[in-house]
């Protein structure tokens, strides 16, 4: 347990909270880069996923693409981009975007597909046009699963961003790599604890969001079921 105490002492050490390379700066970097990546990846993947789910067209392609992307080893992709674009932020950003796309894409089409086809049929028979069917029926009803996809993508980004400190000078992962280099276990464990806490807090926030976006009329019947079985993200943990 000494190891943990050392790590906590490292985290609480005021000198680690100051200036360039301090905990607040690293945490901030980790957060904003993750947020930017998520926005870029979502802007690409969510519309495509919703379209695939709505039309049913290109489903095979979407499944194949997200499957193939997922089999990619994250460290390999990061290294390759680092070699192409040089050490620094330019390399991890495209790599992280690529790796965040599969869960977002899958969440979006699975969310839309999960809706009872009879409800969509009724909406069409009433005279909703395709845009209205997507906007007023499919997206609200599929939202819990879509948010589930965003949740796993976010966890994936946070995890990969930690690893990305290997090729770029940013984020909480820096503490781990600098600790590995100097064999300072307190620092690497301290950094790991910060990363774990960050991931769990974000995951918890998403779990809450996921529950809140269940439409009220659906919650009336499905709430208990969702509670015992939260739509579990399958974040790759790279």
């Amino acid at each position: 347990m000494n190891l943990v105490l050392d790590a906590i002492a490292w985290i609480l050490d005021p000198t680690n909270w100051e200036g360039v390379g301090g905990i607040p700066q690293r945490l901030w970097e980790h957060l904003w880069i993750s947020a930017v990546i998520l926005l870029i990846a979502a802007a690409i993947a969510l519309p495509v996923g919703v379209l695939v789910g709505h039309t049913g067209r290109g489903r095979e392609a979407a499944v194949t693409v997200s499957g193939a992307l997922r089999a990619l080893p994250t460290l390999g992709v990061l290294s390759l981009f680092a070699l192409w674009l040089g050490i620094g932020l330019r390399a991890p950003i495209p790599a992280l975007v690529i790796l965040a796309i599969p869960p977002l894409l899958a969440g979006a089409y699975a969310g839309i597909e999960s809706i009872d086809r009879r409800i969509v049929d009724a909406a069409r028979a009433m005279g909703m046009n395709e845009r209205q069917i997507v906007g007023k029926v499919e997206v609200p009803l599929g939202l819990p699963i879509i948010v589930g996809g965003i949740r796993s993508a976010t966890l994936q980004i946070i995890a990969t961003a930690t690893l990305a400190a290997y090729v770029a000078d940013f984020g909480l992962g820096r503490f781990i790599f600098s600790g590995l280099k100097t064999r300072d276990y307190a620092e690497m464990l301290g950094g790991s604890i910060l990363v774990i806490v960050l991931a769990l807090v974000v995951d918890g926030a998403f779990a809450l969001t996921q529950r809140l976006v269940v439409p009220a009329g659906v919650r009336a019947t499905r709430f208990t079921e969702l509670r015992s079985r939260p739509a579990r993200p399958r974040a790759a943990v790279g």
């Binding site: 009879r118 049929d121 009724a122 028979a125 009433m126 005279g127 609200p140 439409p215 659906v218």
Partner: protein, 270 residues
């Protein structure tokens, strides 16, 4: 008036759902399409609001070929009630009923006020207005479905096995309710069912369909029972099995009507 002229529907996989159908559906009456599954009755119904487009022939509403009308606009002018109600689970009852008027640009206040009146029309308590569909019984959901179908006061009301998923007692109740409504409103109702008794009860005109989407007979219930067009129809309506061959027998001073198997069908009114 709705008219089918030489209508055929072949799906891309080759199945012929409807073949060479010619029929006139008179206005302000109830026409029931009846047949077993695979007889193309639902396909026929869905061609009226262009949920399905025919591969040959024409469907005309008051002389206008529906193929020339934009489908979304067409559907907003035709009421549609389906099995399992098809209500939007994430919207309250009142908002479900108000859906189409809102799509057509009616103000929210007006649409909701009208929706409440429609709940009265279909015999639902207004206290249900703020509930979600999942909180209603199956019969109540179906009534909401009917109210929604009536929301834009359409001339035509399409009903696709609307009472197929409720228990027999509730179904009988809903059937009576529909008869009452129809007397009041006089819509052109096209109703799909696989239950011949339901067809005879509700239909002014009954259209009997057989496998492959052909019409065997289209006539009033009385006419069909009196003169079944062929053996298929006779079998289908049960005339030959003796189910419809009723006779009177006397039990304890009451005159009972029984079928050929001796099962009681009712008491003869004196």
């Amino acid at each position: 008036m709705i008219e089918f002229r030489g209508v055929t529907k072949q799906f891309p996989d080759g199945t012929v759902a409807v073949e060479g159908v010619d029929i006139v559906i008179p206005p302000h009456k109830t026409t029931v399409l009846v047949g077993s599954s695979g007889s193309g009755k639902t396909t026929l119904l869905r061609m009226i609001n262009r949920m399905v487009d025919p591969t040959a022939g024409q469907v005309l509403i008051d002389g206008t070929d529906v193929a020339t009308v934009e489908p979304v606009a067409l559907r907003r002018g035709i009421g549609y009630v389906m099995q399992n109600s098809g209500l939007l689970p994430h919207r309250k009852v009142v908002d479900n009923v108000a859906t189409v008027p809102l799509l057509r640009g009616t103000s929210k206040r007006e649409a909701r006020a009208h929706a409440l009146e429609l709940l009265d029309t279909v015999g639902l308590d207004r206290s249900l207005a703020e509930k979600y569909p999942a909180q209603l019984s199956g019969g109540q959901q179906q009534r909401v479905g009917v109210a929604r179908g009536l929301a834009v006061d359409p001339n035509i009301l399409l009903m696709d096995e609307p009472f197929g998923a409720v228990d027999p007692i509730v179904r009988a109740e809903l059937q009576q309710e529909l008869l009452r409504l129809q007397e009041e409103l006089g819509k052109t109702v096209v109703f799909v069912t696989h239950d011949i008794d339901e067809a005879f009860l509700l239909g002014d005109q009954v259209v009997i369909m057989q496998q492959g989407g052909r019409i065997s007979q289209a006539a009033s219930p009385v006419e069909i029972l009196a003169n079944p067009a062929d053996d298929f129809v006779a079998d289908f309506v049960g005339a030959r099995r003796g189910k419809r061959a009723l006779h009177v027998t006397e039990v304890d001073g009451q005159r009972l009507v029984v079928d050929a198997d001796g099962r009681p069908a009712g008491v003869l009114a004196s």
